[in-house]
C-alpha cells in the first residue's frame, strides 16, 4: 500500500503540470449538433469545407495556438496565410472573431451551425463537446 501513495502523488503532480503546460482543447457546438472527426474539424477551420459558422478566439488566447497546432500542425501565421488565400478569392467567409470562451459558448448555444473551440475546463451544459483534441 505504502509505495502507492508517492506514486499517486507523483501522478497527480505530473497531470497537473501537463495541464498547465498544454490546455486540453475541445471543439464545441450546439447541443443539437453531431460529433465531428479531427479531419472534419480541420477541413472547416482551414476553409476546405463550408457550411458551418466558425468562431475564432483572439490571438492572445493561448488555446487558439494550441487548437490550430493540434488540428492542422500549422502555427497561427500559416493558418492566417491559408485563410488569406481563401478570403481574397471570395471562396470562404472568414471565421468570426469573438472575445473569449464565454462569447463562443453563447454563440454556439444560439446557432446549430456554429462551431468553436475552448478549453475543456470551460465546458458547461449549455454546449455540446463535438471533439476532444489529444
Amino acid at each position: 500500500m505504502k509505495p502507492l501513495i508517492p506514486l499517486l502523488a507523483a501522478a497527480a503532480v505530473a497531470s497537473a503540470t501537463a495541464q498547465a503546460a498544454d490546455p486540453e482543447v475541445v471543439v464545441i457546438g450546439n447541443p443539437a449538433a453531431q460529433a465531428l472527426t479531427k479531419e472534419q474539424v480541420a477541413d472547416f477551420f482551414l476553409g476546405k469545407s463550408q457550411g458551418m459558422k466558425l468562431l475564432d478566439l483572439p490571438n492572445s488566447a493561448p488555446v487558439k495556438a494550441v487548437f490550430y497546432q493540434k488540428v492542422s500542425g500549422h502555427d497561427l501565421s500559416q493558418v492566417k496565410a491559408t485563410w488569406a488565400r481563401l478570403i481574397f478569392t471570395g471562396k470562404a467567409h472568414a471565421p468570426k472573431e469573438v472575445a473569449d470562451a464565454a462569447a463562443v459558448k453563447k454563440a454556439v448555444a444560439e446557432d446549430p451551425k456554429a462551431l468553436g473551440y475552448i478549453q475543456k475546463s470551460e465546458v458547461d451544459s449549455s454546449v455540446k463537446v463535438l471533439l476532444t483534441l489529444e
Binding site: S49, L76, A81, R85, I87, F88, G90, H93
Partner: protein, 428 residues
C-alpha cells in the same frame, strides 16, 4: 459596356439584398485588405525587371535602380453574406498595371481597378455558381498571386506568372466539391470574356476553362485547362493582305498570295486566334516544411508563340523564419512558318514580300527563354505582417530577351542579372 452593366447589376443586387436584412451588420459584411510594400534592385540597367511581363510598363534596373513599383500594391475587399446561400464579393486593387478594368483601355498605373465583383449562390455546401467578375484560375496560385502574405516567396515565379495578361474574367463559373473520406475533389468550370491592355497591346479574349483540385491532408494537386480565343483591335492591318492582293493580280503570284494570306491568318491578331493553356501544380505542406511545384504550357500558332515553363520551390519553418529556394525555367518557342516565295515577282513586290518574310522571321526567332535561381527568407515578426528578402539570379538563354521590358540599345541578349528584393506584406 455590357460587362460593366452585368457587374454593376450583380453588385447592386448584392448590396440591396444585404441592406434589406435587419440583422447584425458585422455578420453580413466583412471588410478585408491586403497589400505589399516592396523595393527591388536589379543590376541589369539596360532593361527593367518586372513581375508581370505583359502588364507592367516599367520596373527595376533601367527606369529605376531601386524600384518600388515591381511589387508594391494594395487592395480592399468587401464580402457580403446576404443569406445562408447567397454571398457577394467586391475587390478593388491598386498596382503597377496599365490595364484599366473599367474600360479595357490604358490606365494610369496605381489607379484602383475592379479586380472582382461577383455574386455566389450555394445550391448545397458542395455545389455553387458564381456570376460576375471573378478570378481566372489559369495557374495554381492565380487566385491569390497578389496576396503576398499568403505566398512563401515575394512573387510567384515570373516564368509562369509573368507572361499571362489575363487575371480575371467576366462570366460565370460552376464549382462542385466531393468529399471521399479524407480526400476532397473540387471541379470548377467557367466561361466568359475579358480584355486587357498590356505589353502585347490591347487584347480581347473569350475563354472557357476547367480546373480540378484534389486535396488530402498536406497534399494538394491541381490541373487546369483553358482555351482562349484572342483578338486585338489593331494588329497588322492590311500589311499582309495588301501584299496578297497585289501578288494575286500578278502572273505566277498565286503561291505568294496564298502564303501571305496564311501568314495573315496566323500572325495578325485582328483575326481571332486560339491559345491553349494547360497547368499542373502540386503543393505538399505538412507544416514544418513545404515543397511546391508547377508546370505550365501554352500553345498557339500566333504572334505570342508557345511556351513550356515550370518551377519548384521548397522551404522550412523555424521560430517564425521561413527560408526558401526556387528554381524556375521558361522555354519559349514559335511554330515554324513558311516564307513567301519571291521568285518571279516584280522587284517592288519582291521587296515588299522580303519585308514581310523578315517580320515573320523576326517574330519566330524571338525568345523569352530564361531560368531563375531564387533564395529568400520570410520572417513572420508580428501578427498579420511579414517581411521577406529575396535574391534572384536571372539567366537568359542565348539570343533571348527574357521577361525584361524596356530594353535599351545597350541590352545584351543572353545576359545574366542579379535582382535583390525586400517586401513587407500585410493582411487584415
Amino acid at each position: 459596356m455590357k460587362n460593366s452593366a452585368i457587374v454593376t447589376a450583380a453588385v447592386s443586387m448584392a448590396l440591396w439584398g444585404a441592406s434589406a436584412r435587419a440583422a447584425d451588420l458585422g455578420d453580413i459584411f466583412q471588410l478585408h485588405a491586403y497589400g505589399t510594400l516592396g523595393v527591388v534592385h536589379s543590376n541589369q540597367d539596360q532593361a527593367d525587371f518586372v513581375s508581370s511581363f505583359s502588364q507592367q510598363p516599367q520596373g527595376a534596373g533601367h527606369t529605376h535602380s531601386w524600384a518600388y513599383d515591381v511589387d508594391s500594391k494594395a487592395a480592399v475587399q468587401l464580402d457580403a453574406k446576404i443569406t445562408d446561400r447567397l454571398s457577394a464579393v467586391v475587390q478593388l486593387i491598386s498596382e503597377n498595371d496599365y490595364n484599366s478594368s473599367w474600360t479595357g483601355k490604358a490606365n494610369p498605373r496605381y489607379r484602383p481597378s475592379l479586380e472582382w465583383a461577383n455574386v455566389k449562390y450555394d445550391f448545397t455546401d458542395e455545389f455553387n455558381v458564381r456570376l460576375g467578375r471573378m478570378v481566372l484560375p489559369i495557374n495554381m496560385l492565380s487566385e491569390y498571386r497578389n496576396v503576398g502574405y499568403s505566398l512563401p516567396f515575394i512573387r510567384p515565379p515570373v516564368e509562369i506568372y509573368g507572361p499571362v495578361p489575363f487575371t480575371n474574367i467576366d462570366g460565370g463559373e460552376l464549382s462542385f466539391a466531393k468529399h471521399f473520406g479524407n480526400v476532397t475533389n473540387t471541379i470548377v468550370g467557367g466561361i466568359g470574356d475579358t480584355s486587357t491592355r498590356g505589353g502585347f497591346g490591347a487584347l480581347q479574349s473569350n475563354l472557357y476553362f476547367i480546373a480540378d483540385t484534389i486535396e488530402s491532408g498536406a497534399l494538394t494537386v491541381r490541373a487546369t485547362f483553358l482555351h482562349n480565343q484572342v483578338h486585338a483591335p489593331t494588329g497588322f492591318g492590311t500589311l499582309f493582305t495588301g501584299f496578297a492582293d497585289a501578288a494575286a493580280s500578278v502572273p505566277g503570284g498565286d503561291a505568294a498570295a496564298a502564303t501571305a494570306n496564311y501568314l495573315d491568318g496566323r500572325y495578325n491578331f485582328e483575326h481571332w486566334g486560339n491559345i491553349e493553356h494547360s497547368d499542373l501544380g502540386a503543393t505538399y505542406d505538412p507544416g514544418k516544411w513545404f515543397v511546391m511545384s508547377e508546370l505550365h504550357r501554352w500553345t498557339s500558332r500566333s504572334l505570342v508563340g508557345s511556351a513550356n515553363a515550370g518551377y519548384v520551390t521548397a522551404g522550412f519553418r523555424t521560430h517564425g523564419f521561413t527560408p526558401y529556394a526556387t528554381y524556375a525555367r521558361l522555354n519559349s518557342m514559335h511554330l515554324a512558318a513558311p516564307a513567301i516565295p519571291l521568285d518571279g515577282l516584280p522587284p517592288m513586290l519582291a521587296g515588299y514580300g522580303a519585308l514581310l518574310n523578315g517580320i515573320v522571321a523576326g517574330v519566330n526567332s524571338s525568345s523569352e527563354s530564361q531560368r531563375t535561381l531564387t533564395l529568400g527568407l520570410r520572417w513572420d515578426f508580428m501578427k498579420n505582417v511579414d517581411l521577406k528578402v529575396q535574391y534572384d539570379n536571372v539567366r537568359l538563354d542565348a539570343g533571348s530577351t527574357g521577361l525584361f521590358v524596356n530594353e535599351q540599345p545597350g541590352f545584351r541578349l543572353g545576359s545574366t542579372a542579379s535582382v535583390v528584393s525586400a517586401t513587407i506584406d500585410f493582411v487584415f
